[in-house]
């Protein structure tokens, strides 16, 4: 998971980043609101952590700026203040969640994951080539033909779709499907195989491709 951390206190920033990277996230920094906006627009982050108290452009401004630019990346507001008014202000600016510093790291991580999960699910209805996906109803069709998946199959499909057409590493899939467990590629391989059996095998060309050494991706591409 790629996270953008916008926080002017370098020390705090460092300790948060250290923790996030320990969890396997990739963390970029911005130390000013200005830089935050620029990075958020250029880079592709899955979640943005945004300190409220920043010089000049504060967290609210950054968030509002992003939303005005049409960016919907989930934003988690970080702040030392805990009053209701501030919270409301944060949400009015388009923040998706709100955490009061200092907060225990595991809590922060949980909130980040919740946000990420939610943002993925917002793609209730999706299409990819011959695929029709409805995450809410858990209905899936390829070329008009219904396909049924197991819960794990859905999760794998979910993360593959959300990154398509990029390659997703096996370890990222694992972290997404089994967030609190030891990595174990064995089972992932089995589930991947099951997913392919349901999604690709009955049809004329595969959507799920493996890129040896890097991971897998889902693309609608008859050749590749």
């Amino acid at each position: 998971m790629r996270i953008l951390l916008v926080e002017d206190d370098a020390e705090l920033s460092a300790s948060i980043a250290e923790f996030l990277e320990l969890q396997g996230a990739e963390c970029d920094f911005a130390y000013t609101g200005q830089a935050g906006v620029e990075l958020a627009i250029s880079g592709s982050y899955e979640v943005i952590l945004l300190d409220v108290m920043l010089p000049k452009l504060d967290g609210f401004d950054v968030c509002a700026a992003l939303r005005n630019h049409g960016y919907s990346t989930p934003v988690l507001m970080l702040t030392a203040m805990g009053t209701t008014e501030d919270q409301l202000k944060g949400f009015r600016a388009g923040g998706d969640d709100y955490v009061v510093k200092p907060c225990p790291m595991p809590l922060l991580w949980a909130r980040i994951n919740a946000l990420f999960r939610r943002s993925l699910n917002q793609q209730a209805l999706k299409r990819l080539g011959p695929l029709n996906i409805d995450f809410e109803k858990r209905k899936l069709e390829r070329a008009g033909q219904a396909i049924s998946l197991t819960p794990t199959g859905w999760k794998i499909l979910e993360i593959l779709l959300s990154h398509s057409p990029k390659v997703v590493s096996r370890s990222n899939i694992e972290r997404f499907v089994w967030p609190d467990e030891e990595p174990d590629q064995g089972r992932l391989n089995v589930h991947l195989h099951a997913l392919r059996k349901a999604l690709d095998q009955p049809f004329n060309y595969p959507l799920i491709k493996t890129v040896t050494g890097f991971g897998v991706c889902i693309i609608d591409d008859k050749k590749a």
Copy 2:
């Protein structure tokens, strides 16, 4: 990874270097800002650690000087001061990150790696002459024709591109591709050859050139 450490406290310098070398990095020293600038310009370092408090030319000056010379090597500022103003000053001079001393070595190492990784990813250079490179999709085209690479091939291409048009020494390539292993030019030659076979051989002129005694580089230049 080659790191330049610019720090006037010889004792601190030594202890940092000891740790870095334990992690497999190669560490050069400068004890004055002056020497730091010269080394940074002559040698090719992947990351520069820069103490802020230096006699005469201080860290900010060194960093600014480098940027003015067109050098974009990532700079990690080291300092005992932790105020917001100092941080801002560091960043305005073009520093990429900021660590407050004393900081735990593993944290320092994490930041160095994060910087390094980011600098590689910032290859906005997704193109080089007839080459189209997409690291996220792991897709590569030359003159519109798809080329597939092995993981090692990608890594070599990555470091060549990130230094282009400069020559990259074989030992630097090795350190990048096999960070925790003994150097062994044998295999590097084999992989280089494979890369050329995929990238150059099927086409009318080579992009990868060897500069005997110094290393190799990737340039789009039909003559040279």
